[in-house]
């Protein structure tokens, strides 16, 4: 396998191309709208945080087929030469409406709409879902950690158990968007301008046999940036070594920035280590904790008053371990000017091009949303905004820091019950009369041929 090309137009489901071939054969290519939305919240969650839009827009801007891509597609034997040839000229030239990254949203509310010729809008389904689903689930999980962290430093530690390379990079991005302080993943730091943080591993201590020598050697190498890992053998014994070492190091201009505790009862160890440092006049050394953390453990440590200055949160956040997927869909809602929806059992969807309006109270708290059809006017502020027109962005890329600030505003506007980690009563999302009428109209449009009728 050569370098993974995430931008390959073949990074999609085969069925997108078999459908395209069929549309091509029958000359069907009217304008379609598809919307991405979540059917229901994962258990225990009160809201979701939209993320991944910038990656989707970059994908749409750059999507094209090389001769090699077309050759590979030809080799499957499913496609006609004329269709394959047409792909050489493929460009996405449609419109995109979306909620800005960092928007809080709820079931049935679309966070992205593609309006384009059906061949274009269909082809991009798989990768759009792949991007929006993952960044959204991580941002939504990370937002819970941020709420639980009550302002403590939070660093993404999850590359090693993230599901592959792109998950490692995008989870660093999504967690930073949601309010994390930074990431341990160097490439994510470089690519997305996210502050990066690094400490040391147990192996570094083990390689030295003498723990104190390991600490001294590392601190001298990172004279203003050393975080020493103190739980390889005995946490409190190691804290005493750090305390003894600190004076010597200070004399040579080296300051120990912090220690990290990665195992055992993190709160209890932190208290004892804090006392050891404070007793030695080392109030300046911070305590950083890691190891199987999630929003619940962070909340409990904060509530117990553990003297922990920052948390490394990895695996459970990057995999959204308690809810590793969303019940989400990218569905055709309009074709050739007519509303469409599916009515599959348990999976019926709302037709048409939709908009959400959000009402806020005088103190800025979210009061409720209305889901309606585009063009309908409702109280509140519309959440879907134009992002791309005829294949071009309507505005430059939104800086990640801007989206991060917007996410913080959105989280601050959540009703108190929704900010809790426990499941609350659902946030009110009302479906407008206009949208309900459209659903009935869409159903009436579908030819209800009797079961034994021959096709026309």
């Amino acid at each position: 396998m050569t370098a993974l090309d995430c931008e390959s137009p073949l990074l999609t489901d085969l069925y997108e191309f078999t459908m395209l071939q069929a549309y091509f054969d029958s000359g069907m290519n009217d304008i379609a709208s598809f919307e991405f939305f979540v059917r229901k919240l994962p258990p225990g969650r009160n809201f979701l945080l939209a993320a991944g839009l910038e990656q989707v827009l970059a994908y749409l801007e750059r999507l094209r087929f090389s001769a090699n891509d077309v050759d590979q597609l030809a080799s499957t034997g499913h496609f006609s030469p004329a269709f394959l040839q047409s792909l050489m000229h493929f460009r996405f030239s449609g419109d995109v409406q979306a909620m800005p990254e960092g928007t809080v949203f709820f079931p049935d509310e679309p966070i992205l709409r593609i309006t384009a010729s059906i061949q274009q809008a269909q082809l991009v389904e798989s990768r759009i879902m792949n991007l929006l689903h993952y960044e959204t689930i991580v941002a939504s999980k990370a937002a819970r950690v941020v709420l639980a962290g009550a302002g403590r430093m939070l660093v993404d530690f999850g590359l090693r158990r993230a599901h592959g390379a792109e998950a490692g990079l995008l989870s660093a991005r999504a967690s930073y968007l949601a309010g994390f302080t930074g990431t341990a993943t160097l490439l994510a730091g470089v690519r997305f301008s996210i502050p990066s943080y690094g400490t040391m591993a147990h192996s570094y201590v083990q390689a030295h046999l003498d723990e104190a020598r390991a600490f001294a050697s590392f601190a001298r190498s990172q004279p203003d940036n050393a975080t020493l890992l103190i739980d390889t053998y005995d946490t409190e014994a190691a804290a005493h070594k750090v305390a003894a070492l600190a004076a010597t190091l200070r004399a040579s201009g080296v300051a120990v920035k912090a220690v990290r505790i990665d195992s055992g009862d993190l709160g209890e160890h932190a208290r004892r280590v804090r006392a050891i440092f404070d007793g030695a006049g080392l109030q300046s050394i911070g305590i950083f904790a890691s190891g199987n953390l999630d929003e619940y453990r962070v909340r409990d440590l904060v509530a117990a008053g553990a003297p922990i200055d920052g948390f490394g949160v990895g695996t459970r956040m990057n995999t959204s371990a308690d809810a590793p997927y969303l019940d989400c869909a990218y569905k055709l809602t309009e074709y050739a000017g007519l509303p469409r929806r599916k009515r599959s059992e348990g999976k019926a969807t709302w037709p048409g091009r939709k908009q959400s309006y959000r009402r806020y109270g005088a103190d800025g708290t979210m009061l409720g949303d209305t889901l309606t059809i585009e063009g309908d006017t409702c109280d509140g502020l519309p959440l879907m905004r134009p992002c791309m027109t005829r294949g071009r962005r309507v505005a430059p890329e939104v800086p990640l820091l801007t989206s991060r600030a917007y996410a913080a505003q959105q989280l601050a506007a959540l009703p108190a019950a929704l900010r809790a980690l426990e499941q609350s009563a659902p946030y009110p999302v009302t479906v407008s009369t206009a949208l309900q009428d459209l659903a009935r109209a869409a159903d009436a449009l579908t030819v209800q041929a009797s079961p034994t009728a021959a096709p026309r």
Copy 2:
């Protein structure tokens, strides 16, 4: 963000580089062994299936730094010019021992060992874990689906909710290794020579308004490959439309290959649809089912005798939804000829270079493993084999089909209780006396300075 470069040497944790800088400063670069292993099985699991080795070997072979990589590293401000310069010559020149892909393994048994200078062996930690962890957890989950499927066709459907692009590709590979029939992810099919499968989406039916017309149009476009999705509105009504259509299509040389059912009670719908087709003399049309499937649902449908010929299994397999991560580690076990281990609370590890021996009964069933130190001789067959010496592969890349056949053998050799989906008594893995002795020796080597002793 430009194309994701999974092969960037910066796709790692920052701490790998801060440790390397410290080793560089102190001139520490003796030979180290690190081993990757899983501490314990996820809840409900009886075994794991090793996967990801080929990607690790390819990564090690190609790992190097461009001038741009070094510039980006320099921009963090943590590294000395001499150290940065040294990275321009970095090549992995160590040895790799590993269990072949498709090997069944158990907690504490290493599936990969890197033996190299400590700077090399440390640097590769994060990406090695990222690759082995993900492919192993997917192969292990997919193996359960394969055991439940009892020979039915199984197709990976999971790209859209896999965690990013690489997860989509590697889960197609890992599930095929474990025994899946193929994948819907086109690029994975092309890259890994995996059979690819595609059907149609609900949007295709919705765009046509007339369901029967959608079926006819699609079948004519894929005259020997059409699988028609029949649950957009009413599954049995759609089956009648397909039956009525089949004769017309057959006259024009078009055969409907199968139908797909994606919602509702899959077993009950399949029975009714089978009856409709059989009643029309259409025994040749297969029934394919998808929608929230995992090993339990597949097993129940098979056990109930549902006339389903194949299953599309996606999200829950690609995210290993019930166990989205493994408690795994990449730990220093030897440095400068001496065994090492950490003793952190709840995370103590076995030191030294290890080997697993597996004993088989006369009928080929696995009887038990012995975990011991390399060079010790035990009953059974050794599982760790040399893969790379001084940075070069000892043999050409193992074809995926070869590993797939080996995985099938391994699954066939599992004791019956371990093949069940329910948790069984643990498979016996004995720790040899030699390894236990080595652990005591490793502990004695660590300098046990008193808590207040000054560093040497």
